[in-house]
């Protein structure tokens, strides 16, 4: 079931009414059933994977807390990690690695004909496996006490607003909210309503309309270099609208039910360097890699070169996580290299003094922001292209066929994003995603009405699935 469908609106209306009239314990059981229905609505057979992941981590975490020796604790942790990664590896990466091996062996003169799997990638598998793994690792590290109530734990793993595309919640944040009664306040309802409206605006109006600009550019092997650069910028907004839109809706509907999910995007458009950008982008996932990969393979005493290696590894894994395709691996690797370069050059970069002058401050942020945006947008050629050969053709166009872009498309793009950029600017300025609430009533009314009718009249209603569902 996708958020931008009538099916979901009907589903949530029914769930919410029953939720409101139920007591805490019933609410949890009911939410668990609803979450399984939500997931099974797409393909009920894959519910078994969700259940296996849940069962393994539930029992393993209880064993970890029961046993005394570190060795045995580690053994159980490895069981959890291996089982989750096996599910992920088999369903998401089997064909990728098998085909890559086939090509590699063929280049050496060995020809094999491996069996390939022919089924759809289970929805949200990368999200819920990471979420359950983080739980077991936190239990192993002694950061949380595992819950004995299986149904509560199952709800933590499968909570439908964030089940298929995040945010990847930590047990430290979500589990206490599952275990304890939740309160629904006016503030949560207002914030939830705003986030839901903003989320649908980002998805249906921004992302799905920008797809009309992006798709032909990346499909055409003859696109010029200028078109590719433009296409990358537009795709950045598309994927941001798509993914942040999903997160906003997820957080909004969670707020309706009294839950607080973590903020997944902190206005990355206004990042002033690559490090700052990646701290603002897909926060739940990037912080997962930081906490469970980066910090697991070293400490503060690491040499600079080891830190660079760890940073590269994080971005490499980030690429691989996004999809079973070399394009994603290359995309992640480029980002890793760009990040390392930034780290190396950082001490030598000029520190522009603005002497408190606003125009200088604005200019500085604009220049730094533009350079940052450019350096994260350009690698998106590899993220968006369907295969490495096409991505390479697109890359070559940057110096072999620079060309121009049609001003009409550029104006269309600007018209599409102007309201979003304004809202993001307001939010980023005060580092408060509800800063809109402090604007004059008349301006807020205009913003809400504009967003509403942008969705209804100008939005793309082809029920496009969210891009991140396939990750």
């Amino acid at each position: 079931m996708i958020f931008n469908s009538i099916d979901f609106l009907l589903f949530f209306s029914i769930v919410y009414i029953i939720y409101l009239i139920s007591k805490h314990h019933i609410q949890n059981i009911f939410l668990l059933i609803s979450s399984y229905f939500f997931y099974g609505y797409w393909d009920y057979r894959y519910l078994s994977l969700l259940l296996i992941s849940t069962l393994v981590d539930y029992f393993v975490s209880l064993q970890i807390i029961k046993v005394q020796t570190t060795k045995v604790k580690k053994f159980f942790l490895i069981i959890s990690i291996l089982s989750n990664l096996s599910i992920l590896g088999f369903f998401k990466y089997y064909n990728f690695f098998t085909l890559s091996a086939k090509v590699f062996l063929a280049s050496l003169g060995f020809y094999i004909n491996p069996i390939l799997l022919e089924f759809a990638l289970p929805l949200g598998i990368s999200f819920y496996t990471f979420q359950t793994m983080s739980y077991t690792i936190d239990v192993y590290r002694g950061q949380i006490t595992p819950t004995k109530n299986f149904f509560d734990f199952a709800l933590y793993v499968s909570f439908f607003p964030q089940l298929v595309a995040g945010p990847i919640e930590r047990a430290t944040n979500l589990l206490p909210q599952v275990l304890n009664p939740r309160s629904i306040t006016f503030q949560k309802l207002s914030e939830g309503s705003f986030l839901v409206l903003l989320g649908y605006f980002k998805k249906i109006y921004i992302a799905d309309n920008l797809a009309f600009i992006v798709d032909p550019i990346f499909k055409n092997p003859n696109s010029s270099g200028a078109e590719m650069i433009f296409g990358c910028f537009v795709f950045f907004f598309q994927i941001y609208g798509d993914f942040a839109g999903y997160s906003d809706i997820a957080r909004g509907i969670a707020k309706f039910m009294g839950f607080e999910l973590m903020q997944n995007f902190n206005h990355p458009l206004f990042g002033i360097n690559v490090s700052d950008f990646w701290r603002r982008w897909h926060i739940s996932f990037m912080s997962w890699l930081r906490d469970y990969v980066y910090f697991s393979i070293g400490d503060k005493t690491d040499s600079e070169s080891k830190k660079h290696f760890k940073n590269f590894l994080v971005f490499f894994l980030s690429g691989l996580w996004h999809g079973a395709n070399w394009t994603f691996v290359i995309w992640g690797s480029i980002n890793g290299i760009v990040f390392i370069f930034y780290r190396i050059l950082q001490p030598y970069l000029p520190n522009w003094e603005t002497n408190g002058l606003i125009w200088k401050e604005v200019l500085k942020k604009f220049i730094l922001g533009s350079v940052t945006l450019f350096s994260v947008c350009l690698p998106l050629i590899y993220f968006r292209s369907t295969n490495v050969s096409l991505a390479w053709i697109h890359t070559q166009a940057l110096w072999l066929n620079f060309g121009t872009i049609e001003s009409k498309i550029f104006v269309k793009f600007l018209k599409n994003i102007v309201l979003l950029v304004f809202i993001e600017y307001i939010q980023n300025k005060s580092q408060n995603e509800f800063a809109i609430f402090s604007l004059p009533i008349w301006l807020r009314t205009i913003i809400y009405v504009s967003m509403f009718y942008s969705i209804l009249i100008l939005g793309n209603f082809d029920k496009n699935a969210f891009i991140y569902f396939v990750f």
């Binding site: 009538i6 609106l9 309802l189 209804l456 009249i457 029920k463």
Partner: protein
Amino acid sequence: MLSFISYFKSTPAFVFALGFIVCFETILHFIPNLYYLDGKGAFFTYYKRYIAERGEENYDILMYGDSRSLSLRGFARSEAFPYSLYNFSLPAAGPWYFKFFLKKYLLHHEKPKLVIWAADPQQFSLKKTMAFHDNPALWNEFKHRLLNLFSIVETWEQYEGKELFFILKEYIPHSLLSVRHRQGFESILNSKISSLFETPSLVRENLIVEAIVKESYGQINLGNFFTVPNIREVALQEKENQLKGMQNTEMNLEPLKLFLDYTQSLNLKVVVLNIPRLKEFNQSPYFKDVVPQMKKLISKYPQASYLEFENMEYDLDLFSESIHYNAEGEKIVNQEFLDKIVPKLYARIEEDNVKK
């Protein structure tokens, strides 16, 4: 339980926005002929609905069919044509709705003397909405055919089970006029400021459609109305695709049976008219099989009879893309319709009693 009044008091901008939206949607209900703002396809459906509901002119013969039968011209009563004919055919809507569209017409008009069923038998295979369930883009393209033609109550009557659920959930957003006419609003919002005071281009196009349909009593030939490039290679390709599609097409005479049952209950004469198609289609196993079955079904109904054109097989040269006639095809088919078919329809009307 929270007090929603207090909630609204705490968020005045939401209340104002909501108030604005309610007012705007209400005002839209009082704006007449809003459907002139829509795209041609949606407008066309609305216009046919308007004719069926307006109750001004009673027609003697009504034709229900598909995008090809839409090419047959209707006519007013005159010395040459003592009985009038209105063509209610619609493209890409299947035949399931015919019974209900006729029912709608009868609510506002006198009973006609004869009704023509002119849907291509290939259309019988189409389930009501099933073809659209897994194809949102196609549904978005064609949903106005089913949603704009009937009210929600009339829609409810036509479906059951999974299809009822599908159509009703699609009706929910469609009940907002801003969504229903979004194509028109979208074109206004995207137009240049300088052109805001001019008649919107969609309105101008729809006025042309209206003039054509008014003059021809419901007819419009899609083959030459839309500028389909008349390229033989494209037509040949389309022909092959259609022939391939026919191999997997299931036959379902249920919609015809439904229509015949209904007209029998009204004691209303029906002619099932088979109209010319591409030669290769007509010679395909599908048509060789379906036509005798149609005739067998029709023979069970005393008020119904079967009629076909003398020449049922046209060459590709007479089509714009193998389905719809080009200008030449349109001319030939209408000539035969007026010269040969209409006299037979008149004779059928003038038979004293329905056949026993």
